[in-house]
């Protein structure tokens, strides 16, 4: 698992410089679909192949169990300004990118991490020390070990 020092929000193993940058991919969920060239490292999109959500979740869970992840990891997710939060099983994601895509979908807005932006919501997390941090600085697997809850903030606050 790389932990590059150059500005690259993702340190997951499937970093690919030809993939859309975080803000692009979170604005247009189907972006990866207009480029049908098959990068075997391309993360699964939410809308292809055309299967129903329940099957998609089942297959995600299967893949993770096959790779050795057994335990579900439910964390609370809040959107700033919205009192009622959601719960998300982080173990079903394999990278920051798929997490962001899912959150963008779940909250119907574009959620990014790392880059401050006027337009987009930024994802933060509370670690096991109780501190609130920007998502994306540490390798994904390490993130899973330390994350306790998520908050989608308005950019100004960061």
């Amino acid at each position: 698992m790389e932990n590059s020092n150059s500005y690259s929000p993702y340190s997951s193993s499937s970093v690919d410089s030809t993939k859309p940058s975080p803000s692009e991919s979170s604005v247009n969920l189907s972006l990866s679909l207009t480029f049908p060239s098959t990068s075997s490292q391309r993360e699964t999109s939410q809308d292809w192949p055309p299967i129903k959500p329940r099957l998609r979740d089942t297959l995600k869970g299967l893949r993770l169990r096959q790779r050795g992840y057994h335990r579900a990891l439910f964390v609370k997710v809040y959107m700033e300004g919205v009192p009622i939060g959601r719960k998300l099983d982080l173990s079903t994601f394999s990278s920051y990118e798929s997490l962001l895509e899912n959150l963008s979908h779940m909250f119907d807005t574009s959620v990014i991490c790392g880059k401050r932006d006027i337009k987009h919501h930024v994802l933060t997390y509370q670690d096991k020390d109780g501190d609130w941090m920007m998502v994306g600085d540490i390798p994904w697997d390490m993130f899973l070990e330390t994350v306790r809850r998520l908050k989608i903030t308005r950019p100004e606050r960061c």
Partner: protein, 593 residues
């Protein structure tokens, strides 16, 4: 026969009998289309038909208003409503797009309709709606929710508590917020009328003893589908209660592949008593031992859904399916492989419907060779003479295979092929798959539903327009070259009702060529195509009886900033005919032109 002599001359030809007799005759006409035709014959028949109509099917909840529905059919008992467009199943439609149930329940309650059955697909259902439903219709018997969302187990609790005559509660593939159910406790002790209970899609825990008591007091229970929270020993107990009358069983989840011997023995014993069992499903997170437990009754099965049985290896699937000699419907994962499909072809001679779903979305198992290819499809087509419906996800296809399939199976009504990689050509000749699909539409004269995939040019649409005379629904993804493709379909397929297109280069010319065509169709969906805002506006101007909806990615609201740029491509377009004009409940991300 007093009435007959009072008939006016214009109707005397048609009405030899009193209205009651005509109504009785109409009772034998069940199909919605036939009843619609009857109502057009003359005013008298229209009136009789109106008052005697018990079942109504509304394919698009925004095509008509609840008030108008009730005015026309005041005596309706059973209502089917569909909300979101089909591509909502694949996350292409925002959650809050629409399809709200509440106005319908509200109107039905106010109109004092004696509703007994409600069947919903892709609607947004709230706990409030469910509560209102449960309190408003004394004789309410059957609730079927398919791919709906917006409610929680609290809503289910209302249904359980208040619907005294509930026979059917069938929840299929819904997104339900699970408040960790005491909802099963809400069925009163006096409730003994349940015939069908399906809560397989619920994600949370349930009260097992409440479930067991409910099943024990439901002598008519024929269909039971439980969720993953029902372990082996509980399942065995449930089945023992109603084994002899069970026709349809959905099995939950087992924690591991080595169940306790005593529980397992109880399960086997219960299974042996299930002599009426014809349909089996579930098996998510279940190992193969539990599947093989059902072998003793496998020869009786007509329907088998193992599409969630992701933990069971291909060879065990094959072993089980081999015994299902009477199978008519099979839904399975592609881990069964081509070899498995060959076994299906030789064992399941009664097979009518097959669905093969992908088990690996990440292309990692590529070298594993367990997925299905054209070989499996050809084998099925050769071995199963009664096959009429297929949904097939595969990694590769050839024209030769499709041509063979067309020759073997001219009786297809539904043919949906999804090659996982967009734009993939014939893997042997590297050509497009136009000829293969062309053969399908030419041979299958009764084809009503078609989904195409792989590398396809305008030619395939020329074929579809020419030959697919009975086609009602067409799904296109990553296909075609120019507007001519879409035009050939719109011009050629006279019976087309639903057209859904994504990521294909069709634009304004095709969209606008024949505006009147959309009056004959239920709906059109186009996403990531070449249509522009200007084109959509022009369409909306020329067709006031259409709702032309633009769905934006941008959450910040309607398209004010784009007013000046009519050349801007539209991300998602959904248009549908309606008699009630623009809907008032659209969220900010939807602009109705």
């Amino acid at each position: 026969m007093n009435r007959a002599t009072k008939l006016r001359p214009s109707t005397s030809e048609m009405n030899y009998f009193p209205d009651e007799v005509i109504e009785h005759i109409f009772d034998f006409v069940a199909s919605h289309r036939d009843r619609n035709s009857i109502s057009l014959v003359n005013k008298s028949w229209h009136k009789i038909e109106r008052y005697s109509r018990r079942q109504v099917f509304i394919g698009n909840c925004y095509a008509i208003s609840p008030e108008r529905l009730i005015r026309r059919f005041p005596c309706l008992r059973s209502l089917t409503l569909k909300g979101k467009p089909h591509f909502a199943d694949f996350n292409l439609v925002p959650h809050e797009w629409g399809g709200f149930l509440h106005p319908w329940i509200d109107a039905l309650a106010k109109g004092r309709v004696k509703l007994e059955e409600l069947r919903l697909k892709r609607m947004v259902v709230s706990d409030e709606s469910l509560e209102l439903l449960s309190r408003s219709f004394v004789g309410f018997k059957s609730l079927v929710l398919v791919s709906c969302d917006g409610f929680t187990t609290d809503g289910l609790a209302s249904i359980a508590a208040n619907c005294r005559n509930l026979r059917e509660l069938d929840l299929q593939e819904n997104e339900i917020d699970d408040h960790r159910g005491q909802w099963l406790n809400c069925f009163p002790d006096t409730c003994t009328t349940l015939v069908s209970l399906n809560f397989a899609c619920l994600k949370g825990e349930i009260n097992l003893s409440a479930l067991e008591r409910l099943v024990a007091r439901s002598p008519n229970l024929k269909s039971l589908k439980v969720n993953r929270a029902v372990p082996l020993d509980a399942l065995a107990r449930l089945m023992s209660c109603c084994a002899s009358q069970l026709v349809d069983l959905g099995v939950g989840c087992y924690e591991n592949n080595e169940p306790e011997p005593e529980s397992f023995a109880k399960l086997l014993f219960a299974i042996a008593k299930c002599t009426s069992l014809r349909s089996l499903s579930g098996f998510s997170e279940v190992g193969q031992l539990c599947l093989t437990a059902f072998i003793p009754i496998s020869a009786n099965l007509t329907s088998l859904n193992l599409s969630y049985a992701a933990e069971i290896q291909g060879n065990h699937l094959i072993k089980f399916v081999h015994f299902c000699k009477r199978l008519q419907r099979l839904w399975i994962l592609d881990s069964i492989g081509d070899k498995g499909l060959e076994v299906v072809a030789s064992s399941c001679k009664e097979l009518q419907e097959l669905r093969v779903f992908p088990s690996d979305l990440h292309d990692e198992e590529d070298n594993n060779n367990t997925a299905v290819t054209e070989v499996g499809l050809v084998a099925i087509s050769a071995g199963c003479p009664k096959l009429h419906s297929i949904l097939y996800f595969c990694k590769q296809m050839t024209n030769a295979a499709l041509i063979t399939v067309a020759k073997n199976c001219p009786n297809f009504i539904r043919f949906r092929l999804c090659i996982l990689e967009p734009n993939k050509p014939d893997h042997i000749t590297s050509q497009s798959l136009d000829e293969g699909f062309g053969a399908i539409v030419q041979a299958c004269k009764g084809l009503r539903r078609l989904s195409v995939s792989g590398l396809l040019t305008d030619k395939v649409f020329l074929y579809i327009g020419m030959y697919a005379e009975q086609l009602e629904m067409l799904s296109i993804a990553f296909a075609g070259d120019t507007d001519k493709g879409m035009l050939d379909v719109l011009n050629g397929c006279k019976k087309l009702r639903k057209l859904e297109i994504r990521d294909s280069p069709f634009g304004n010319a095709a969209l606008l060529a024949d505006v009147g065509k959309y009056e004959t169709m239920r709906s059109l969906w186009m996403s990531s195509c070449e249509v522009t805002l200007g084109g959509c506006k022009r369409l909306a101007r020329n067709a006031p009886w259409l709702n032309v909806e633009i769905i934006n990615e941008n959450e910040s609201g309607r398209m004010e900033r784009n007013e000046e740029d009519e050349r801007e491509k539209v991300d998602r377009l959904y248009l549908y005919r309606t008699v009630v004009g623009t809907r008032k409940d659209a969220p900010p991300c939807v602009t109705i032109l």
